[in-house]
Subunit: 457 residues, 2 copies
Amino acid sequence: MAHPPAVAADVIVVGAGISGLIAARTVLAAGLTPVILEADSRVGGRILTEEAAPGLPVELGAQWIGDTHHRMFALAEELGVQTYPQFDEGETSYELAGSGVLRENEFRARFAGELGELEKVLRLLDELAAEVPPEAPWRAPRAADWDAITAGAWYDGQALSPVARTLLEICTVGILAVPTVEVSFLHLLFTIQTCGVTSELFAESEGGAQTTRFVGGTGEIPKRLAALVTDHLVLDAPVQLIEHSDDSVTVHCRGGRTARGRRVIVAISPALAGRIMYDPPLPGKRDQLTQRMPNASAMKAFFVYDEPFWRAAGLNGQLISDVGPARMSNDTCLPGDDHGVILCFLEGEQARTYGRMPTEERRAALTAELVRHYGDKAARPAAYLDGEWADRQWTRGCYNANLGPLVWTNFGDALAEPIGTIHWASTDTAVRWSAYMEGAVEAGERAAQEVIDALTG
Amino acid sequence: MAHPPAVAADVIVVGAGISGLIAARTVLAAGLTPVILEADSRVGGRILTEEAAPGLPVELGAQWIGDTHHRMFALAEELGVQTYPQFDEGETSYELAGSGVLRENEFRARFAGELGELEKVLRLLDELAAEVPPEAPWRAPRAADWDAITAGAWYDGQALSPVARTLLEICTVGILAVPTVEVSFLHLLFTIQTCGVTSELFAESEGGAQTTRFVGGTGEIPKRLAALVTDHLVLDAPVQLIEHSDDSVTVHCRGGRTARGRRVIVAISPALAGRIMYDPPLPGKRDQLTQRMPNASAMKAFFVYDEPFWRAAGLNGQLISDVGPARMSNDTCLPGDDHGVILCFLEGEQARTYGRMPTEERRAALTAELVRHYGDKAARPAAYLDGEWADRQWTRGCYNANLGPLVWTNFGDALAEPIGTIHWASTDTAVRWSAYMEGAVEAGERAAQEVIDALTG
């Protein structure tokens, strides 16, 4: 078998998600030559825009940015990608606690006490999260205690009513995409702190993290970014081995392709970074960390209708449910388009259970739920599209990695710390808005700066 | 670069630990040709016998078998490896609850109530574990509840005195090698059930799992097994890629070596199996499972003395401590040898903390502890040897993988189920004595039988 010729560059970047593309673009701007090796046949990573119907792009992956996502707003402007606000008018629909489907006003009246409890816990979470330094969660004064309990166990200890506890679980799983018993309480507090406060994070009302979308689809961002570094981009190049020394790296891909450089930036999720073979091997601490950063379980399903009929009924297209299969939904209509689009979220155990069903079965279960909330018209979508992430070989789960008990305190400082000539990017390593596109940009810029400092300092 | 020639066989086995060697030997006996690809330059996997001093082999990895390890007793007999009983005479030494060092009789008198509490919890654990089918823990009647809580949280809920809770943690970490908050309660019950009852499992007194050792060292077992299949064994062959179809597999190693066969048996820990690239890629369920099976954190340290001076003082060489660094120790003298050997266990957070220290610092901390328990003579060892597993590239943690909350119920049935022409071995997939050598034999035999049935049926 003839091997492709070896490529030479200053900086090898593994992964062409936003983080890797930003890293490559940044080192290029500093006068260094990058080569990006992307395992998939497309760029974008956890961003994936596909057409649910002709001319109707939907986001199977990352979808929104929020008001404090300054890097992403600047990037969109630079790339000429326009933004528009997320629709947010009308009432949310609830189906909780065996009470059947209730509109928001009725739900709030009936469960005012429980919502007050929830509010109180969220304020407490904000207070505690403020004690967590996002660049080093393990240095929080109470890190040892908070990392020795799961978020779920901490929630259980708050003496909440069943309805308040359920609401808390739903809004947390909506962020983490795994049940709260799978994550450390310290990790939950880190997640809150990295994003600001719970009101920006939790999605019951459209808060800070999900205010804004991109015209043409989120996929425009990596597509246009890739165009800036297109001469340095190699697709279909899954990295298998990184040989590294004090002053050079050689990166080997499946099929025999190699790239040589002075530094490497690994810009994929830690779980996937841990699958690469390193020579010399990485320290045990780093390896056991990446064994403990499983990617979460998330799936999105889109129903396209002729019109957004729920709006006329005063509904905002959002639901909150403990019946499911979707625990939440969203109105994701496109600007200048008459179709109505409902996005159903399947996260955590719902993604695992329903993601393994035949599509028709999953679609039928979701349709039944939408009919309960939005009426009979919901039974007749013009189109349907869904997307699961665990099956995708070069992603293996969304939205990001959540750390279980004791991982931050026992292994956390190995997450972003360079090892010789190897640097780490991906949103999972970000300090602000980790797990979001905003964090991917930050991490890519930070890793690129480490390399620039090392090679040009 | 010239590639080694492709090898052809009926069955490719990945990994030359006991499980892979047994699998290869079993398919060979059935008239099929195996090829074993081992990443390391030695066989044995998580078994590693090294000399602490000339002629004085100690076990950095698996060490004991127990009375119900029938497969291992039969294997040792077949291979001509003799066994001898673990020394177990005298008192255990305790250093717990701020009471200083106490000998067993004194400790038992002072903490009789707490030991009674512990006994009661162990009996309850036995009762609950009996409800868990070891071949399918997710089918236990209360699996959903038990998998939705950590073992640590369950322990915390038993209203135990601090001393009883601490003892329970120490004896459990002595088995799992991770803190109890990292594992699902269902996984703990599975672990108990796969071994029988807690009295066989927990190591406070030398119970069923640790009664017997091997003359010449445990390493004799894989060494002699390997000799039976030596013509079929390839060392230094790290597998990077498995291409598989309905009737064939091609396994690619670092350096370009390939092996072609009709079936492959992957006989390495699930975390490491998940690092191999598969084409076509494995289902998301299997992939997310292996992301959630981190190998544990264990380290052993051996102190060799001119004689086992603690025996004369009526001590059995075992300690139980909440001060550490070792939470437990053991008398591991060799038969027909005058030296005294003390094995210190560093498990869970102790392995992580002390394993990252310089050897001299770790040794000094352990020495100080042994002096507290066994007197000044403990300060003057003739030799010292320790071994950590997370740093070892082809193991990356011992003793085995522990499953966190919801992993057994959400992903467990993907653990041992073949995928097309790919079969799974390693002790982590065993039904009886999973995580032990006994389980490695069972899993190797089971995977081999699957292949034999498929190819000769």
